[in-house]
Each structure stands twice: as C-alpha cells, then as structure tokens.
C-alpha cells in the first residue's frame, strides 16, 4: 500500500478523537464551572529518532497523531444567583472536597448544608477548610456569609476558612469527573483569586469558537478522506485494473 494512505488514515483517526473532545465540550456548554478540553496534535515521524529515514524525503514519513488533551483554565463568566450557598471562584483557586477516593479539587461552588450543618458539595462530600477539616454551620444562628478570601462566618462568629488551592500547570490536572480534578502529584502554586458569594461561574466553553472548530475538523476530515480516496480509488485501482492488465 502507498504510505500516503496511512498518513491520511492517521489524520482521520486524529480528527475523530478531536470530534470526541469537541462533543464533550459542547455537551457541557451549560455546565456550571466546566473547563473545556483542548486537543493537541503531534507530528508523527515514523523514521524519527532512528536512522531508518528514507532517502527521498523526510516529509513522506510524517503524519499527524492525536497528541494529548489539556484543560483550558480560562475564567468562566459569573452569574448572580442570590443563593447564599453558591460560590464562584475568580482567579486560579480551587475548592477542596473530600470524597471516598481522596481529596479532590473543584471550581464547582454549588454548596449545601448537610446533616449537622456541614458545608457540603451537591453529592454530600464535605468541603474542606484550611485546617483540612469540614466546616460546620449552625443554621439557627442566622445568615451565612463567605468573604472574598473564603472566610466563612455567621454574624461576627468566624467558623473557618475555605481551603483554596492553586496548582502549577493546572491544564494538566487529571480529571475525575463530576467537575473534579485529582490533585495527586500536582505542585501547589500561590493562590491568586477571590470568592464571590451568591454567584456561580458559568461554563468556560465558547460555543461559537467550538462550533468553528467542529466545522474545521469536519472539513479536514473530508480533505484527508479525499486523499485516501484518491490513493485507493484512483491510483491503486488504475494500477490494478489498467497497468497490470494481462492480455
């Protein structure tokens, strides 16, 4: 088979992966605090790193592969909800929640009060304070206020401070679903940001540019397909049916 055929097939595969990333981003276009994924492609040189480079041209050995996905950590828009237990994070901070699988970082600030007034995420996982312990609120003692630095207080009584963490290279944090990231192995960075009570951070997916990306990848897919089709339907069939014809 012509090596160009594999280059085209590699491109088709890479675009299929890209479409899966785009589809997931669009499915979460209205998910609070969702951060989109970005696709990265790499040049694949099958002769690279070895001395098997063909004498004709190095370009003949190149193809595209789907390299990696990275989290785009752009700030989402803030929407005012007026609910005192809705928090939006501005800046690079993450809230910490304790799940059965370990502590997780999240930008999702939709909180609720659980049994005993514990500050919890929507699925009941406790939200951690600076001391690594959950924060308990007494609902009978009046309205809860959470200041810009994450201090949780009721009237004048300070109940604790939310554990806000930031990480080096947040784009390579491992996702664990439910808008959470697994911070295991990530290096902590200085936290620069504030907490806005009564607000929620909207999805950071830009629908317009995601649509453009989808149209573009669709066309690139079509393009690679034309290459594959030319090679197999035109060139190869010519060789098979016309050149190798036995009289």
């Amino acid at each position: 088979m012509d090596s160009g055929y594999y280059v085209a097939a590699g491109s088709l595969k890479a675009r299929s992966f890209q479409l899966e990333v785009v589809a997931n981003n669009l499915a979460n276009a209205a998910t609070v605090s969702y951060k989109p994924d970005q696709s990265f492609f790499a040049l694949f040189n099958k002769a690279g790193g070895s001395n098997r480079r063909l004498p004709l041209s190095a370009a003949l050995n190149d193809g595209v592969v789907f390299g990696e996905t990275g989290v785009v950590t752009d700030q989402g828009n803030l929407r005012a909800t007026g609910r005192p237990l809705d928090l939006a994070l501005e800046g690079n901070g993450f809230l910490m929640v304790r799940t059965p699988a370990g502590d997780r970082a999240t930008r999702d600030g939709r909180l609720q009060l659980g049994q005993g007034g514990q500050l919890q995420a929507m699925d009941g996982s406790p939200v951690l304070g600076k001391n690594g312990q959950p924060i308990a609120v007494d609902p009978a003692k009046g309205d809860l206020s959470i200041t810009a630095d994450g201090t949780v207080q009721q009237k004048e009584a300070v109940l604790g401070q939310l554990d806000l963490k930031a990480f080096e290279k947040p784009g390579s944090l491992k996702r664990s679903g439910s808008l959470r990231f697994d911070p295991t192995g990530a290096v902590e960075a200085p936290m620069k940001g504030t907490v806005a009570q009564g607000h929620l951070e909207q999805s950071a997916v830009d629908t317009a540019s995601t649509m453009v990306e989808m149209i573009r990848l669709n066309r690139l897919f079509e393009l690679s397909l034309k290459v594959a089709s030319t090679l197999s339907n035109d060139l190869d069939s010519k060789s098979i049916n016309d050149v190798a014809i036995s009289r």
């Binding site: 981003n25 669009l26 996905t69 009978a140 439910s178 192995g185």
Partner: protein, 262 residues
C-alpha cells in the same frame, strides 16, 4: 466517533431536563409559596486513553495525557428557598413567613407536612386549615363569635369577643425549619416532607433562633423570576442546538467514511 455521538446525546438529555425544570418553574409563577428549582449538571466520567506522566522515552514523559469525556449528566434539582415577594390580601387568615421556616399541617393519614403556603381558612368548627382542609399544627380554633382576629409577628393568635375589651389569646403558631431545605421531599400541593438529607424539623417560635416572622394579611408569592427563567430557556435551547450539530457532524463524517469504498 460513536463516543462523540453519545456525548452529544447526553448533552441534549440534560438540556431536556433543564427545560422540564424551567417549564415547571414558569407554570408555577403564580403559585403561593412556590420555590423555584434549578437543574444542576456535572461532567460525566473520563476515559483515560493516555495517562499524563507516562514515559514517552527513557528521559521524557507525557505532560498532559489524553482524557476523553463522555458528556454531561444531571446531578440534582436544587430548590432555592429565597423569600418570594409578599402580596397583601387583607384576608385575616392569610399569613406569609418573612425569613426562614415552614408552617406545619397534618395530612389525612396523620403524618405532618410542611409548607410555605400561608393561605389558611377556618373549617366548620373554627379550626385553622389550609386550602385542602389539612389542620394547622399546633391546632388553633377561632371562636365563632370572634369580632376580630390578630396574628402577631411572633405567631400569637388573639381574638376579641363581644362584650370584652381585652383581646384573648387563643393559640400560638410555631414554625419549623430544616438544616438543608433543598433536601426535602416534594409532595406536590405546596407540601413537603423531611428526608434524611434535609434533617429533622427544628420547631420554634417565629422571630427567634433564626426563624422568620409571620405577617397577617399577606401571602408569599412564588420566587420564580420570569426574566431569569427566559434567559435560562434561551441558553438551554442553544446548548441543545449545539449538541444536535455535533450529532449531524458525526453523521456527516460517518457517511463520508462509508463513501470511501466505492
């Protein structure tokens, strides 16, 4: 590529739930004591195709890896217990709670239910009942010859009777509140029941321990904000549309692939 199609289908599915919630909110825009709900979404679990940190050669490692998402899911319906506007009705048994708390009524099967709907009236014996005839708990009976009824902000109910100059106290309304009212079970008919998630009811006198006050002659209208619901509806519709475009793109690409072989 089928993963992309399923992600888009999951995205459309959550937007349908979103629309269901919005339409229920809008349908209850004039329901006394109604609390709006909000559909909460999360991203689904990720399939790790290539783990970040895996060695790509003897001295280098992959910085980001590949994680493929599978769309969005509905996590919960969060009810928002902000106080709705108070509407003056001048009906002497109408009550609105300003602040936290619920009225308590006894259902026909004897169990208690909780409500923000303060549209009460009296039954044939003079007892305070809600629109469905469920007795307010604790029970309060208004004497048939009462000239006027006063319900104070702290919940004391007093009446003046013919020939008396001093009002007589005939009962005390208590309110109940919950640690997590969003966790309550919705029974319909403006009634709610506590669950494990909401915690047990904490009873108290209006105006004390964070409990709201009772306003006679007012009703609390629904806290649904029509403008906000309309904006949410537009966002939901566009998100639904974007996901349908994904499905069309996948379909186009698959059909192109099928056309590859002549």
């Amino acid at each position: 590529m089928m993963r992309a199609m399923w992600s888009a289908a999951a995205g459309m599915n959550v937007q349908q739930f979103n629309m269901d919630t919005i339409s229920n909110n809008l349908a209850n825009v004039n329901t006394t004591g109604f609390k709006k709900a909000r559909a909460e979404f999360q991203d689904l679990l990720y399939q790790t195709v290539n783990l970040a940190g895996t060695a790509s050669s003897s001295s280098t490692s992959i910085p980001s890896g590949i994680q493929m998402g599978h769309g969005a899911k509905l996590q919960s319906l969060q009810r928002q217990y902000s106080t709705g506007n108070l509407r003056q009705t001048s009906n002497r048994f109408d009550m609105a709670i300003e602040g936290d708390g619920f009225f308590k009524v006894t259902q026909p099967d004897g169990t208690l239910a909780y409500t923000r709907d303060g549209g009460f009236t009296t039954d044939q014996n003079g007892a305070l009942v809600n629109a469905a005839g469920y007795m307010l708990e604790p029970q309060i009976t208004i004497p048939s010859d009462a000239l006027s009824v006063t319900i104070a902000p702290d919940g004391t109910v007093s009446v003046t009777q013919p020939g008396q100059t001093q009002p007589q106290q005939v009962g005390q309304i208590t309110l109940s509140h919950f640690v997590n009212p969003s966790g309550m079970n919705q029974l319909g008919r403006n009634l709610m029941q506590p669950t494990l998630a909401s915690g047990d009811a904490i009873d108290g006198v209006p105006g004390t321990d964070g409990m709201g006050t009772v306003n006679q002659g007012f009703l609390e209208v629904s806290n649904v904000d029509v403008a906000e619901e309309m904006v949410n509806m537009i966002i939901g519709q566009r998100a639904y549309e974007a996901n349908s475009k994904t499905i069309r793109t996948v379909d186009d690409m698959l059909s192109l692939l099928n056309g590859l072989k002549r």
